[in-house]
């Protein structure tokens, strides 16, 4: 290392700039000419964005349920009608729950709502009649939704009946307000999150592949035997992918805002500041992986396991970090996407909240420095 520093002094700054420019130019030509880089940087992001924009929606709209009215009375018909009117259910009706048990087993309905025989009589007698909700527990998420919506529909129906009879409204009304995303459109938070995943793919997966390719093809060896210093070599490698990462992020943001109508309430400056900082750890990790493996196949596997999967699962993108076991929660602190995703969601949905951004930026920067230090240590100008 010391010798390299001496070299850097011996070479005039202009030479260094020229060497750097040459490396960047070379890398850019390679990116443009390699279809797989374009695939990862521009096609895959669009596919992902598209899937999160349309395919994966956590909003349950119209779950199929069966409604069994065991005894037809004006009261039960009225309750049934309110179930049918719910915008969360698409209802098939019947008389006997056994008709639908097979459907529940086969997943053709997600639940069976049963208004039992004697419901009207009990109600008239002032006792507590009950409605049964049988749900398909094999998908707990949907099961929860069905239960909650059924409960909501019953409560609604009761309130309507009571208020007609001038009975007072509930003792405590809880008014809910969802800030930033009042309609709870899942696309609004999934799309910003998937941008972080896209940048992970470009920054870590693609970078680790191309650097590993240089080792495999022997061009790294030729580079190293020239006056280029290790730092120049790495920087020349990174800048093009940094730009590529930002370019594919920009593409995603444009698609998100103009195609998917995701609101953008923050500033462009904050968006780029966050994304640029995030690319530091992403690129650093890619470099580290390629320097450690020097093999495309291993690099890709390692990048998927150590970058893609965590960005997906351990970042709060789909799953709440707070709900994870403590050990896994510790692990998430090392996942850069964990810091980027909430900040990106904020830039899109809430606006510029700098105290939050500053913290994210600082942590991502730190993780980035750590990766770079490790990568620089394993990419000294030595082979074997």
């Amino acid at each position: 290392m010391k010798a390299e520093r001496k070299m850097a002094k011996a070479y005039e700054p202009a030479g260094r700039a020229r060497r750097f420019a040459a490396l960047v130019r070379k890398e850019s030509y390679q990116v443009i000419r390699d279809p797989s880089s374009i695939l990862i940087a521009f096609v895959l992001p669009l596919v992902l964005l598209f899937l999160f924009g349309y395919g994966v929606s956590l909003d349950t709209t119209r779950t199929r349920v069966a409604l069994v009215v065991e005894e037809a009375t004006p009261l039960t018909r009225d309750l049934a009608a309110s179930f049918e009117a719910s915008r969360y259910f698409s209802v098939v009706t019947g008389r006997d729950r056994r008709e639908f048990e097979d459907d529940l087993v086969l997943g053709r309905v997600r639940g069976i709502l049963v208004i039992p025989a004697g419901f009207a009589a009990e109600h008239a007698a002032g006792r507590h009649p009950s409605v049964q909700v049988i749900v398909d527990g094999s998908d707990p998420n949907t099961a929860n939704f069905v239960q909650n919506y059924a409960q909501g529909a019953v409560a609604n129906w009761e309130r309507q009946r009571l208020s007609e009879g001038r009975t007072p409204p509930p003792a405590i009304a809880a008014e809910q307000r969802f800030w930033f995303n009042p309609q709870l459109t899942s696309r609004n938070f999934l799309v910003p999150g998937s941008i972080a995943i896209v940048m992970t793919l470009v920054g870590t997966l693609l970078t680790s592949l191309v650097v590993a390719r240089e080792w495999e093809r022997g061009t790294m060896e030729a580079m190293m035997a020239t006056p280029v210093s290790a730092a120049e070599l790495l920087a020349g490698k990174l800048l093009p992918y940094f730009v590529l990462g930002l370019a594919s992020m920009t593409l995603c943001v444009l698609v998100a805002v103009f195609l998917f109508d995701v609101p953008f309430r923050g500033s462009v400056a904050a968006l780029y500041a966050l994304s640029a900082t995030f690319l530091m750890p992403a690129l650093g990790q890619g470099l580290l992986i390629s320097a450690a493996t020097k093999n495309q196949f291993l690099a890709s596997q390692l990048a998927l396991i150590s970058a893609f999967l965590p960005a997906f699962l351990l970042s709060g993108f789909l799953f709440e970090i707070n709900s994870m076991p403590t050990v896994i929660q510790w692990v998430t602190y090392a996942v850069p996407a964990r810091y980027l995703i909430p900040s990106l969601q904020t830039v899109f949905l809430a606006g510029d909240i700098w105290p939050m951004f500053a913290r994210s930026i600082a942590v991502m920067f730190l993780i980035g420095c750590m990766f770079f230090a490790l990568a620089a240590r394993s990419t000294r100008k030595r082979i074997g």
Binding site: D139, P140, V154, F180, T185, S300, L304, L313
Partner: protein, 370 residues
């Protein structure tokens, strides 16, 4: 004679994967990490919630509400705020997920029999969690309301909603997740192993050796098909064992049905892998190709979200996804003991996919050899 040739090829394929340290790493590392991370971390349950309360009422009822919340295991911490500014800041910076705001007349309203109100402010950026938390808070507030004088009066007439969860009485999330993983790990491993097997032979030049040998094209295909299926079955078995003995998922249906359909599922997956393999020239292209297929296949399978929630124009796309069918079978056999007819019903499309992918892979291979 053909059996001698085929056996040699199958043994070679298995050895090539298992003796290569890289191959072994891929077969052992990612599956274990996946099993652990997915089954423990990927949960849509919400716990350890941080909540803020802005309580401007000093009466009994607001204290009751806060106390009830404090007693719930869902909430990790309750921070008391003194001003709307603090509320804004805490939500903005995501220090808390939700804020419960209680107005100054809350207790007085209740005592007076007037309708009282609380406000729940939730972070819409984390809309999934907020929705669930809002449900929890609603229930707690409801419970307090039931104890108020007005509530007690109204309670006489309320209708109870009795929930019964079939197949998974406590709605344990892992009972859902782990069977899903059984299906998806087979996709992951089957696809990668197959996609790489041909690309690697091409790069190393051993593919020529196979072609000049007396092996016929269909024998080569079979030789490439069977070993990844065996490896896939091995992973399925390991995951089933983990499901039953580590995660305690009940296995109610017939293992025989599960394995029977798994063979067709794996054939479909391996067919896809061979197809990708035949299309790609290098290992890198094979890896990226498999990845490019895998991500949409996972998202459009009913694993992450139910297929019926997707837009109607997107739903037909899922019909060509083998994972979609096998997910129904695995979950069905594990939790619901689905009947034979349903297994057959889901297996038929798998057969069809297998036939299409395998024959097009064979066709592509023949063409590539020209």
């Amino acid at each position: 004679m053909w059996w001698t040739r085929l056996k040699a090829l199958i043994v070679k394929e298995l050895l090539a994967v298992l003796r290569d340290p890289k191959g072994r790493t891929v077969l052992i590392g990612p599956p274990i990490i996946q099993l652990l991370v997915f089954s423990y971390a990927a949960t849509l349950e919400v716990t350890n919630v941080d909540l803020m309360v802005l309580n401007r009422d000093d009466g009994h009822w607001s204290r009751e509400v806060v106390q009830q919340i404090g007693g719930s295991p869902t909430f990790r911490s309750i921070e008391l705020a003194s001003s709307p500014h603090e509320v804004r800041l805490a939500i903005d910076t995501q220090r808390v997920l939700a804020v419960l705001e209680i107005g100054p007349t809350f207790s007085r309203d209740i005592e007076a029999g007037r309708p009282a109100q609380v406000q729940i402010i939730l972070d819409g950026r984390r809309s999934n969690a907020s929705q669930i938390v809002s449900g929890y808070l609603g229930r707690i507030v409801g419970a307090v309301a039931a104890e108020t004088p007005a509530g007690k009066r109204a309670a006489s007439e309320t209708i109870r909603v009795e929930a019964r969860n079939w197949f998974n009485p406590n709605l344990t999330y892992q009972w859902f997740m782990v069977p899903n993983l059984v299906a998806s790990i087979a996709l992951l491993i089957g696809l990668i192993v197959t996609a790489l097997s041909v690309a690697r032979e091409r790069e190393l030049g051993t593919f020529d050796q196979l072609i000049v040998s007396p092996l016929r094209t269909h024998e080569i295909l079979l030789g490439k098909l069977i070993p990844p299926m065996m490896i896939g079955l091995f992973h399925i078995t390991i995951y089933i064992l983990a499901a039953v003995f580590i995660f305690g998922v009940p296995l109610r249906g017939s293992l025989f049905l599960l394995y029977g359909s798994a063979i067709f599922y794996l054939a479909a997956v391996v067919g896809l892998g061979l197809f990708i393999s035949a299309l790609s020239m290098t290992q890198q292209q094979a890896i990226l190709g498999a990845f490019l297929f895998m991500v949409p296949a996972m998202l459009l399978s009913g694993f992450a979200t139910p297929i019926e929630n997707m837009p109607s124009w997107l739903q037909p796309v899922t019909l060509i996804n083998p994972l979609r069918y096998f997910l129904v079978i695995v979950k069905g056999v594990f939790l619901k003991d689905i009947p034979l007819a349903e297994v057959v019903h889901q297996t038929l499309p798998l057969c069809l996919i297998a036939i299409v992918t395998l024959s097009s892979a064979a066709w592509l291979f023949r063409r590539r050899l020209e």
